[in-house]
């Protein structure tokens, strides 16, 4: 008998098992052009190809013997090895964990496996929903995942009594409660804004449940609501994106994405739905659970175009709300006023400052366009580093003293650091006019850190400290003029670049950017900024009067309404739910109008209708 070399056997085994070394072609491949695809069938074809790439990658990642819920779901989506998946599922369900992060994968598997799983696997699933008690959670994304899963599973196993469910409620009770909560959340979102708005990661925790609702809810109302909410959230993302990067202020982002603007789960959705960027590693992790069912969703042309087909720059204003406030506030959900300016070379966005969200708020920043965003810190911003039990007590119901330290052990390691670049501050007020930002700080002497931090990227093309007090820099095709209002020092950053630290209680920053194309030279830009009328006073409160490159005279004083060209700006009266060239909605309307060129789409939650129109 001829002896087969061991290397050949190993090669054969590796060939037979596609896992481990499976590539992520889109993640490692070249940047897509980002141009809009006018042909509907090509858009759809490309979308489905991207979806297929992600699902096939996931299905091939892990041997069945060690597969987790995502791996099993991917195999079910591809209708692979139902018997093997069933057997492994029974094993996995012996140790359920993850609360609502277990619920929606389990829901996905239950539905994908309806005609594939064995009787025994279905029984194991059923039993898990009786014996495992997932927590409801303490934030809005938790509740969206929880109640969507509860609704769908109660629907899958209807008419069952309370002793068949972990919470002791009957299928009917569960479905009724879930439906009521989901309607309540959609109503809040479409009248006074989303609570965890514009999140670079948590966008997934909203889109995934809404997709499941749109596909699997038996109740046509809930299906329609799910579909409309996907459009709503995706349109909100599209309008605040540049090359697929989520720009401007976020209710929540993280230490990585706040610097490397592309590297968040939101970019997975940009890749999948708009095709205008590359996906993060592992297709964004949780994003896989959207991809598995993504063939049931068709990205509306108008949203695709808002994301990819812009003519010139635009200003978009939005009203959102804070998460639920439990303490230290007279209102349950305070309004958030957002402004985002987007041009071809850069985007600038902000909120009004203050403690609008706990821990992971990003209040303002500029993101510049780059040929390839991978590894690039294409942003400039400043923040007032703050942490404290007061903030956490406002948004969580826990006892006060242990919370700040405990946050640092829960995936937010920089929360209590003076070098932090994430988080809001009660000592910060921000105003944005077009692409100019003025942030003022009046920091209490007993604040955790009496300073502000400015982020200066390793990827800035140049930086110059000008005798005028301006710091001039260039990022991509954006010229940047950054004006600290008080003395500062430079400190190195571990991630690269430098931190501007200004240790003064009365403080502030002005950011005045411009496109490289708008000036004949770097020197011309600097000269133009130096010539702009600017008055700064720090006592008794920070006060700035500044005429922008666009010729607007902006006056800001800490604790007062801003003024533009002599007119007082009252954001409470002026900010709509959405206002801009692409998205418009009145506060309280439950109605979002999307516009792009001749196309319009109206998402009307009053009538649960989606109305498309084309202007002649």
């Amino acid at each position: 008998m001829k002896r087969v070399p061991a290397g050949l056997i190993l090669l054969a085994l590796l060939t037979a098992w596609p896992g481990g070394a499976a590539a992520q072609p889109a993640h490692t491949g070249p940047m897509p052009s980002g141009r809009p695809e006018p042909e509907a069938f090509r858009r759809r074809e490309a979308y489905l190809a991207r979806r297929d790439e992600a699902v096939r990658w996931r299905a091939a990642q892990t041997p069945l013997a060690t597969a987790g819920l995502a791996d099993l779901a991917a195999r079910l989506a591809l209708r692979q090895d139902a018997a093997g998946v069933s057997a492994r599922l029974i094993e996995v369900l012996r140790t359920p964990a993850g609360d609502m992060f277990w619920m929606f994968p389990a829901t996905c598997i239950a539905y994908l496996g309806r005609d594939q799983l064995t009787v025994e696997a279905k029984a194991a699933l059923r039993e898990a929903w009786r014996t495992y008690h997932p927590l409801r959670g303490d934030t809005e994304n938790h509740w969206v995942m929880y109640y969507t899963s509860m609704l769908l599973m109660a629907q899958l196993w209807p008419g069952e009594p309370g002793d068949r469910w972990f919470n002791g409620k009957s299928s009917d009770e569960i479905a009724a409660e879930a439906r009521t909560w989901l309607r309540h959340w959609m109503d809040l979102t479409t009248t006074v804004g989303q609570g965890e708005y514009d999140c670079t990661h948590y966008i997934g925790e909203y889109l995934i449940p809404m997709l499941y609702l749109s596909v699997w809810a038996q109740d046509p109302e809930m299906r329609q609501r799910g579909r409309m909410m996907i459009d709503y959230i995706l349109a909100d993302f599209a309008v605040d994106s540049l090359q697929g990067m989520y720009v401007g202020a976020h209710a929540r982002t993280d230490d990585k994405t706040v610097l490397e603007r592309w590297n968040g789960l939101s970019s997975f959705f940009a890749w999948l739905c708009f095709g205008n960027t590359v996906p993060p590693a592992n297709y964004g992790g949780w994003g896989m659970f959207f991809a598995l069912v993504a063939d049931h969703y068709e990205v509306p042309e108008i949203i695709h175009r808002i994301a990819t087909d812009r003519t010139g720059s635009y200003l978009n204003r939005e009203r959102k709300r804070t998460r639920h406030r439990w303490r230290h506030s007279d209102v349950r959900n305070a309004p958030v006023y957002k402004t985002t300016w987007v041009g071809p070379d850069y985007a600038v966005g902000s909120d009004q400052g203050g403690l609008l969200q706990p821990i992971q708020q990003h209040s303002w920043g500029l993101t510049w366009a780059v040929p390839d965003p991978r590894g690039v810190h294409n942003t400039i911003f400043a923040n007032q580093p703050f942490y404290g039990a007061e903030e956490l007590m406002m948004y969580f119901t826990e006892m006060p003293d242990w919370m700040p330290a405990s946050v640092t052990f829960q995936g937010k390691p920089t929360y209590t650091s003076e070098a932090k670049l994430l988080g809001g501050s009660p000592y910060e007020e921000i105003f944005q006019q077009d692409d100019t930002v003025i942030a003022l700080h009046r920091i209490a002497p007993d604040a955790p850190f009496v300073q502000l931090n400015g982020f200066f990227s390793k990827d800035l093309a140049r930086t110059e400290e000008d005798p005028s007090g301006w710091i001039f820099a260039q990022g991509g095709r954006a010229y940047l003029a950054f004006r600290p209002l008080a003395a500062y020092e430079w400190l190195p950053l571990e991630a690269g670049g430098r931190r501007l630290r200004s240790p003064h209680a009365r403080n502030g920053v002005i950011l005045q950017p411009a496109s490289v194309a708008d000036f004949s030279s770097w020197e011309a830009f600097k000269a133009a900024v130096r010539a702009l009328p600017l008055e700064v006073r720090l006592d008794p409160v920070p006060r700035v009067a500044f005429t922008t490159l666009r010729g607007r005279r902006v006056e800001c004083a800490y604790g007062e309404f801003p003024r533009v060209d002599g007119r007082t700006v009252d954001r409470a009266a002026e900010w709509k739910l959405f206002a801009g060239p692409y998205l418009n909605a009145e506060v309280g309307s439950r109605r979002l109008e999307l516009t792009h060129g001749r196309l319009t789409r109206v998402l009307d939650f009053n009538t649960l209708t989606i109305t498309d129109a084309v202007r002649p």
């Binding site: 964990a97 303490d138 509740w143 009521t180 439990w326 230290h328 119901t397 006892m399 006060p400 242990w402």
Partner: protein, 341 residues
Amino acid sequence: MRVSGRYFFAGVLALAAVLTGRAAEAPRHDLHLLVNLSGPGSGIIGRAGPARSGLYRSADRATFEHVGPHHIRMFHLTHDLRDARVVYVAALDGLLRSPDRGRTWRITTSWDMTEGKAVAFDPAEPAHLYLGLPDGIAFSPDGGGTWERRQTGITRAYTNALVVDRTRAGRVLAGCELGIHLSEDAARTWRRVRPTTKVTYDLRQSPHDPRAFVAATSADGLLASADGGETWRELPGIGRERTLHNIVYDPAAPGRLVLCGWGIGVQVSEDGGATWADRSAGLPRREVWSVAVDPDFPGRLYAAPFQEDVYASDDLGRTWRPLSFGKTTVFAFGFLPRSAP
């Protein structure tokens, strides 16, 4: 969890104390603890580990049985005054009710009443149940079957403590964000009887004198009332610098109070709060989440330092011994009357 193994020796000592006559009779109550384990295998919301947090019960004060779901945020418990087998736990998910000593559970509240912090029955109207919530107060006329909001008159309605006056039906005191509130009509209307700058975390009625109440606050010190909660005064010797978590009366000793909090350790008073003795020396840290007096073992205290073992003392805190659990946070202790299994 290997609760009896790790501290076997301490358990044996405790058991010996029980058997050798500190209390000749069997305990009349079971000790209950609402536990968030924080050692190996623990987790956070959305990332739970295998270590089983939630409700633990001990009949012998040495070994502990996990009861009910693995749940990392259970804050307060009580029982049906007519049937001690019926247990209620205020938790992140709402108010959980077990009709059978923790074998089966039902969440009695819906999505609009969650993160319960305190639960109390009215001794004079034993079907009437009150629930303190981070956004107000809920009332159930039928032991949790149905619920309605009852918080008229309270601004900033965060409610962490509730006590129903055992001498009069429908007379309820609530510890809220901006003060202690009193209702005399079963929570339909409230008036503030003591303003505070921050939350009142605990509120108790004396087992010896029904006119006497004490309140532990976040920033307003330790408060006492001698007239049924109508007026309050700050007790000396504690101060306002630390968050006070827990204040308890000793049912066996009039005048004895035991207090704990963040940074103050365990404090014991023998004179109704006029003077205090620091009894924290044998504890691993002064951040003590909760404290309890055992109604069946005179002089026995329990203390739960933050993310440490649960500790027991048989000499009112002069010496302490680790009891069980390793690293844990105990949100509350409870002594429920022993009932038929």
